[in-house]
Symmetry: C2
Subunit: 473 residues, 2 copies
């Protein structure tokens, strides 16, 4: 039976692209079978590397015939174990990385059609070479794929202006659970012909169908990008600054990141070579403007916002980047926080979203509860304040072994944080998805009506349960 399936799969994707764990040294399959944070290790029946949509469809039909389940995978950079096989040795790992053609770039329509395996940075570069912008940007952009970005509805640093991956996609090509190809590629900004299938597959983490290509929105390149740092006395003030910057700059405000003192203290400890222009402050905000007129105009805009904020006591101090290098150095500070955390040791990560207006109350309540129940624990709180998205991470107290702290307290810390998230109208997964990591938590936290609707949809589109089973729902 299995031999028969393997031979048939070889016939579809070619011998060289059916990798069998039983025949290969472990390390050759580790990139597929283990997530990069090493939290999930699986074992596949085989790793398949198709090159075309037709091959993906043929693979799904074979899997269906043999009632074998499939786990689709892009760059394997996810944070929730959504793209790693289970340990049964019975699942097919379907890597989409070889689907990497840029099928079309239509500059006049500001769209581009790419296959699922294109690496995000390659997509950004292709757009830039055409004088255009594909704005999705996140830490893993050098290795994550656009198919994975769409399957998880990735967020990142430009969401404030351009939206999530969902908002950047006009159309999809998807292989359904029946092995049919839905050609929903489309360069249309408006199309009200029936149900929104596109958005159903986006963010479904490969459980409803397999995204094989997408038509993406492009934008004109801004003429200038400029960054500033501002020190806010309180988190309330940071929220006020956001409102002020949005009102004065509108869509030119493309970044608004917040970092608490602890975040930048860790950066200072582990990366002392990085200059922190404002020194230690309760809250540091990074603002980014993308300007269609040029640098002079961007600078005037910044000066307007920041001087009004200074006068109103919303900020204590600010520094506007004088050069591209300074801008990059400011972003580098922000991006170094997760790395500094890793250097400091294991920590308990929370990727949460809240209404912007409720963030100060949430943080005050949650900080107090954690201080009370887990004395000395360090709150490394930073993220995309403009989107209401915090990475509210909890690090072991100084001198306590991180692994021990996690082992003893992780579940209890999560309970405190997620209870407060729910109490403040928030979400337990802002931009990382559900995968394996948060599936139980989702079952506990999501409304029963929503869960029931989700199960009905899963049952309707994948009645045999072969697409990435036991993930999300």
């Amino acid at each position: 039976m299995t031999v028969h399936l393997i031979n048939a799969l070889r016939g579809v994707v070619g011998d060289a692209h059916v990798l069998l764990p039983e025949l290969l040294p472990d390390h050759e399959l580790t990139p597929y079978q283990q997530d990069w944070r090493k939290r999930y290790q699986g074992r596949a029946l085989a790793v398949l590397r198709p090159e075309t949509t037709a091959q993906v469809a043929a693979v799904v039909k074979l899997a269906r015939e043999h009632r074998v389940s499939l786990v689709p995978q892009g760059g394997n950079t996810g944070l929730v174990g959504g793209g790693v096989p289970d340990g049964s040795g019975q699942q097919l790992l379907l890597s989409l990385k070889r689907l990497q053609k840029v099928r079309q770039l239509d500059a006049a329509n500001l769209t581009m059609t790419v296959e699922a395996g294109c690496v995000l940075q390659q997509v950004q570069d292709t757009a830039r070479h055409a004088g255009l912008l594909f704005p999705l940007s996140l830490a893993a952009e050098g290795s994550c794929t656009i198919g994975g970005n769409l399957s998880t509805n990735a967020g990142g640093t430009q969401v404030l202006r351009y939206g999530n991956a969902r908002d950047l996609c006009l159309g999809l090509e998807v292989v359904t659970a029946e092995g049919e190809i839905w050609d929903g590629l489309s360069g249309l900004r408006k199309d009200n012909t029936g149900y929104d299938l596109r958005d159903l597959f986006i963010g479904a983490e490969g459980t409803l169908g397999i995204i094989t290509a997408a038509t993406l929105k492009l934008f004109p390149q801004p003429r200038a990008r400029m960054t500033a740092l501002a020190a806010c006395p309180t988190l309330e003030a940071a929220v006020q600054l956001l409102g002020l910057a949005q009102s004065r700059c509108g869509a030119a405000l493309t970044g608004f990141e917040v970092m608490n003192a602890q975040s930048l203290a860790l950066v200072a400890r582990h990366f002392p070579q990085l200059i922190q222009p404002l020194g230690p402050r309760p809250w540091t905000v990074l603002l980014e403007l993308s300007d269609n007129e040029g640098e002079t105009h961007a600078r005037e805009q910044f000066e307007g916002v920041l001087s009004e904020a200074l006068e109103g006591g919303v900020i204590d101090d600010a520094a506007v980047a004088e050069s591209l290098a300074q801008s990059q150095a400011m972003w580098h500070l922000r991006e170094s926080i997760p790395l500094a955390q890793s250097e400091e040791g294991l920590n308990i990560k929370h990727d949460i979203a809240l209404p912007v207006s409720r963030i100060p109350a949430f943080v005050a309540a949650c900080d107090a509860l954690l201080a009370q129940h887990f004395p000395g624990s360090r709150l490394v709180n930073f993220g995309h304040l403009g989107d209401g998205n915090l990475h509210y991470n909890v690090q072991a107290p100084e001198g306590v072994a991180p692994a021990d702290f996690l082992k003893t307290h992780e579940a209890a810390v999560n309970a405190v944080v997620y209870d407060q998230v729910m109490a403040h109208g928030g979400s337990i997964s802002a931009e990382h998805g559900i995968g394996q990591l948060k599936r139980e938590e989702l079952t506990r936290r999501k409304s029963p009506v929503a869960l029931q609707l989700m199960r009905q949809i899963k049952q309707a589109l994948d009645p045999m349960g072969l697409l990435n089973p036991n993930r999300v729902v």
Copy 2:
């Protein structure tokens, strides 16, 4: 049986809000049973006017018990007959108009939660009184409801910058086909906890669930809005002007409408009092800027774009509004086209979308075919060029009775137009939806895989087929 149901419905929504066609003069029910263009007349078993979500849920449960189908209706301003009952006298017409509370306005989060029956203009006004903008804007805004806008994913004049109704909604409250209430109201910009139920209900025209409330995105009010008209020698030039304006103005470009000579000739004939600043031109473009800095800056921006366009031969002439009154007069020209068409007599309307880059080729091909097959027919072609959305309408030749022309040629004209739309990668319904009007056409034109997915979803969420049956799918 029916008496039993009617009594139970009276118990739920109150005697005064169960209107029975058999007991009332026709004209009292016409606003519910006939669409405003008088293309669809139906007859309901009863017209129900609930006031709360709980009442809607109770009505659905009763309908389910009695296996009676429901047609949800908002302002009854739709163009495709989606909200009018059939002629059987066996359907319940569910008017959502009395659900009209503004539940919350959160200025710091830039969101507002409103009930489905709120009239769009009321939503706009409420936002404006808080110093904010709800940008959805369309001709029927004085009487359409936000529930209808979302159920049909309405478009309008601000889509270029702010997107369709879908893009302006963060969360929904929906009564499911089982009569359960899904509380998916949410003020979150990021939430990756499972399938995108919100976007499934948006645009589903009441066939998957009944939208009872929504959380909407708000924006800072721009400091200035300014309008200009420009004359383009060709449609290709109009597309070039769009690219130029987008590149120079970015998100400040909030409107980009195109009008062919025939459109404005009809306006001149029926509304001679309206000044046409540029006189007759092959193509006239209306541009709108929304500026966060002020009028002076907006004017500079316009001057930059238009002088570059003049030098490059992209436009022949232009007029920038000198006052709010002049801006409004320019918009009034554009908005008078459908009215002028009505004055001229019945016509064959097409609400189509195309990739912007393919619009000139589509129009050239389609114009030529129509001229060949229907000599003398007049092409009234105008619309939201920035979104790739044309209202490509066909008026009877001068001197031919419009009703006769339609009777003889409507099907053949539609076939020519929709064949060309499909050949150019377009959509047969850009912003008006499917309803009854385009259901057969959709079945012919949509991919079988997509239709199959849609039917599976309908079957999963409304297995008894009680929600707006025979619409969309």
